[in-house]
């Protein structure tokens, strides 16, 4: 039996527009007096049925000369001739058909049930719509781009397969007042999505739901209640630049700009960086990049091309307590670490730019040491920047020494000079 909120299954197709009948004066099903051609009528015309149900149909012949007979008539369904035992002659001009346990319609325009004369010519046709009523849509999720619009996505019930054309309508209204509105721009981010482009209020909850309707019934999703400010996302950060950090072969510096559309509101924006080696599909994600527009990736492989992307979560806009929605990733930006003969460590984490507190244990200890030196040894010029310069100098001298001694990357001596 049909599920959903509507009544029993519909038994006929929707009525066609009035203009169409002009052209149908002479098409199948309309008797033509004096033509000499037999015509017929199939009943029922265009029925709608549940999967697994049965159908009793008749093909009644009429025409010129009178006394047209049902003998020799046969049925086809979607071009396939039906077994004779499914048919029986009711009277001289009527052939009946009994179909049981119907399968879902093969095409949305309906299965073609055709009554043929003995010579194979088509006498009449009827289209069967066999399917299921829609089930409740679920899993509605919505997001607002820069607080200007709202896009929602949902999952159709019963995995969407009703075998009938099912219409989905996204509805929304302000929770405390206002009338129901219907979204009009569908399929914007997939087959079950809709976009509301404008006229949305902030600081007040909306109720959003989806109604599914087909020939066999309708169903409505649960209502989702949300405030636009709680589902804000934004564009990916623009102007992402990745560059080397001097001669440091295991670091790259990443800089970006706060998304301009929300730049006046992003007091607590979060960012994420992900990066991967050029010929790898595995991304490494750096999570704890909060509210800053630069970061240094450390522990990278020397002489390696890296692709880097950044995304933004504009959480906390106008005091919203919700988690916020991540933007799309920015377009990949590539850069390579300087080449080195010493193998790099391979791993990585986001480190602050020079002069800022370190997150790694080595650099933390170094910071403490430098702080102690400044205090007790009067080394006022000491800083992380100086430390990085020293590292770059160390690498350079190490390379030069290796070149002079003819040492190859594998450690074997030879006469080839290694150039970076």
């Amino acid at each position: 039996m049909p599920a959903g909120r509507s009544g029993p299954a519909a038994q006929s197709a929707r009525r066609p527009p009035l203009l169409l009948p002009l052209l149908l004066l002479c098409v199948l099903g309309a008797p033509r007096a004096g033509s000499g051609a037999h015509m017929a009528v199939i009943s029922p015309q265009d029925p709608t049925l549940l999967i697994g149900s049965s159908l009793q149909a008749t093909c009644s012949v009429h025409g010129d000369p009178p006394g047209a007979t049902a003998e020799g008539l046969y049925w086809t369904l979607n071009g396939r001739r039906l077994a004779p035992e499914l048919s029986r002659v009711l009277n001289t001009s009527t052939l009946a058909l009994a179909l049981a346990n119907l399968n879902g319609s093969r095409q949305q325009s309906g299965d073609n049930l055709v009554c043929h004369a003995r010579d194979g010519s088509i006498l009449a046709g009827s289209c069967l719509y066999v399917g299921l009523p829609p089930e409740k849509p679920f899993n509605i999720s919505c997001w607002s781009k820069n607080m200007k619009d709202l896009t929602c996505r949902w999952t159709p019930g019963a995995h969407g397969e009703t075998f009938l054309h099912t219409n989905y309508s996204l509805k929304y209204k302000l929770r405390w007042y206002g009338q129901d509105n219907t979204c009009e721009e569908y399929h914007t981010v997939g087959p079950h999505s809709c976009h509301i482009p404008k006229d949305l209020a902030l600081f007040t909850p909306y109720e959003i739901w989806v109604e599914a309707t087909n020939r066999l019934g309708s169903a409505r999703s649960d209502v989702l209640t949300l405030d636009i400010l709680d589902v804000v996302t934004t564009d990916p950060p623009p102007d992402v630049h990745v560059s080397r950090v001097g001669g440091l072969e295991d670091q790259l510096s990443v800089r970006w700009v706060s998304p301009p559309a929300l730049k006046d509101f992003l007091f607590q924006a979060k960012y994420q960086i992900r990066y991967r080696v050029e010929d790898s599909v595995d991304w490494k994600v750096v999570d704890d990049v909060s509210n800053q527009t630069s970061c240094r990736l450390a522990g990278l492989k020397p002489g390696t091309v890296y692709f880097v992307q950044v995304r933004c979560n504009p959480f906390g806009i106008y005091g919203s307590k919700k988690a916020g929605i991540w933007s799309e990733w920015s377009h990949p930006t590539a850069a390579s670490t300087p080449r080195s003969e010493r193998p790099g460590p391979g791993g990585g984490a986001c480190e602050p730019r020079g002069g800022e507190p370190s997150s790694g244990p080595v650099r933390r200890e170094l910071k403490q040491f430098l702080g102690w030196l400044k205090k007790h040894a009067y080394c006022s010029n000491l800083s992380f920047r100086l430390y990085d310069q020293w590292r770059a100098w160390m690498q350079k001298t190490h390379k030069t020494r290796n070149q002079d001694e003819g040492i190859l990357p594998s450690g074997r001596r030879g006469t080839t000079r290694a150039f970076t």
């Binding site: 197709a13 929707r14 009525r15 066609p16 527009p17 009035l18 203009l19 169409l20 009948p21 002009l22 052209l23 149908l24 004066l25 002479c26 098409v27 199948l28 099903g29 309309a30 051609a37 199939i42 015309q45 265009d46 086809t76 979607n78 071009g79 396939r80 093969r106 095409q107 949305q108 325009s109 309906g110 299965d111 073609n112 049930l113 055709v114 010519s121 088509i122 009449a124 046709g125 009827s126 289209c127 054309h165 219409n167």
Partner: protein, 205 residues
């Protein structure tokens, strides 16, 4: 213009005016358009039968070729008519096609709402038929042969007169009708291509 069918030569024309190059260009251009639209019409037919389901599109499927009010297929004797008369019939058919294609599109929008390419092709076919019809009429005007021969019923008027009297139609007849209209569109565009091809200088006389 010479009475010889398929020829543009007129030995009595004033050579100082020489509209011939312009006319030839017009004919070539219209012929190219007709050739392109013939290809599109074939694609439309393929797309159409695909969405109606079997047996539409199967070899041997032949519902009765019942006449569509306001338009019939090119007559068997069409090719034997003088060129201007053939082109007039082509233009008349191309004028009658757009409202028929519109009706088919509207019905298909109900039957196959998730077939955007089919619906787009039907919409484009109506525009293309209008464009080709106008181009053929321009050729006729350039040939000085564009006078109408007796009253021709306006397709829209015919549609309006018959709409109230005709019975509501089922889905299967609507599918067959659409097939018929798409078939007529292909036939007439192809026929127009052939008729213009005979006028193209250097083409078959």
């Amino acid at each position: 213009m010479s009475r010889r069918e398929g020829s543009l030569e007129d030995p009595q024309a004033d050579s100082s005016i020489s509209p011939l190059p312009h006319l030839e260009a017009k004919i070539r251009q219209t012929h190219s358009l007709a050739r392109l639209l013939t290809k599109y019409a074939e694609q439309l037919l393929q797309e159409y039968v695909q969405h109606q389901g079997d047996p539409f599109g199967r070899p041997g499927f032949s519902p009765p070729r019942l006449p569509v009010a306001g338009l019939s297929a090119p007559a068997p004797g069409h090719a034997g008519l003088p060129a201007p008369e053939r082109l007039r019939l082509d233009a008349a058919a191309l004028t009658a096609l757009p409202p028929l294609l519109d009706v088919v599109r509207r019905r298909q929008a109900e039957l196959n709402p998730r077939a955007p390419r089919l619906l787009l092709r039907l919409e484009e076919a109506a525009r293309q038929a209008r464009a080709l019809g106008a181009a053929v009429e321009a050729v006729l005007a350039a040939l000085g042969a564009d006078e109408t021969r007796g009253p021709r019923p306006e397709p829209a008027v015919v549609a309006t007169n018959a709409a109230a009297a005709a019975p509501d139609a089922g889905v299967f007849p609507a599918k067959v009708l659409g097939l018929r209209v798409c078939g007529l569109y292909r036939e007439w565009v192809s026929r127009t291509e052939g008729d213009l091809g005979q006028l193209v200088p250097g083409g078959p006389a």
